[in-house]
Symmetry: C2
Subunit: 251 residues, 2 copies
Amino acid sequence: MNGPRRILLTLEYDGTRFSGWQRQINGRSVQEEVETALGKATRRPVQVTGASRTDAGVHALGQRAHFDTAAGIPDDKWPFVLNTLLPPDVRATRAQRVDPGLHARFSATGKEYQYRILNRRQPGALLRHFAAFVPLPLDEGKMREALGSLPGRHDFKAFQAAGGSAKTTVRTLYAARLEHRGEEWVLTVSGDAFLYNMVRIIAGTLIQVGLCKLPADAFLRAFESGDRLALGPTAPARGLTLVRVDYEGLT
Amino acid sequence: MNGPRRILLTLEYDGTRFSGWQRQINGRSVQEEVETALGKATRRPVQVTGASRTDAGVHALGQRAHFDTAAGIPDDKWPFVLNTLLPPDVRATRAQRVDPGLHARFSATGKEYQYRILNRRQPGALLRHFAAFVPLPLDEGKMREALGSLPGRHDFKAFQAAGGSAKTTVRTLYAARLEHRGEEWVLTVSGDAFLYNMVRIIAGTLIQVGLCKLPADAFLRAFESGDRLALGPTAPARGLTLVRVDYEGLT
């Protein structure tokens, strides 16, 4: 047996059949599935803390979560053990031993999200759980113009859902990139931290700008006014994927 | 009302929850879903003929299927009508009026398939229904060498499942392309026609070549011997997608 240590997991999941990351009374959560698998693996109750509390329907390629254990499983073997115990829509892709002071959520220095949009006349069958559907043409120039104003340190007060309870709404967006691949648009945003629903509000606004229903300076106006109504609707959860969570000194 | 006419549909579907294209007594088929939707739309029984009888778990981006109708729905409105009646894992993406002599299956002059392989240490959650999983490294050079011998006119006798009943097993493969995108390999093959399980046998063999369990000239040896045992196992259905079906004079 080893002494107690902190393990940081990297997790991939298909959010379609989950009520979200966070454990709750009614509904299946990713956190509960991971805690159940760890409980079986270690024969003890294990509490897991995730970096991001993703909503129902939101996916992850690189969610990260920590737990403490004294179980005799070598650090790098956790993914193999967990993947025999987890349901097929959750996979552990990596495990690292980290300093006990590292906290999956509070120590995160950056996150990257992707938002996918299927843009053609008819909805898709293969991407129905993984992309928002927009049947009308999108104006690329206007979308790129709008996105250009996002990177940097801003007060994102207008960019949060009604339930948001953050103490400060100032965030730094590192980058906002838009790619056009055939019938699909992929928006990638990275930043130090994100408010509740912030990426989905950015995506929803970008779509309205592309449809010429909001002006290309909609983000700028929202920074100035702090008014949620200056922005578009929250885009559907299914288009969103948490791609990566970063920590200082960790790869 | 219009006179009877032949409509060619382009269909996208997620094959995960289907027993395959073809209608059968037990099990949910794509053909039956499309026929049911057409029956509701036209209030008459409608028979649909597909270009390819895809297996359980095989997906389609561009399956094509024809039916005859006298219903008063404008030719280009069929996708809109059908997509309100079809289940979410099947979508009509296009409809064209075609010559009554055109047969979705027998008039097809070419098809393109993609086979996706997730190649990393741990299985995926997001691609679990859309890619085969190979946890060991694949030798790119050997795979490309093997693929190089596929294009052209060959006797593909060795490249069919035991149940195959084709009169002739000579086929022309137009192209075989392999792309490496991060953790994913994508094999794209196009040809005039394919034997039963031919693409999955090609993919399964390619994986064995990449794992150095079969020689890089495995395809050449199989052309010479006609022996199914010279090739690898049939790769899982979930990795396969029918991308396109072509007809002379049609786009």
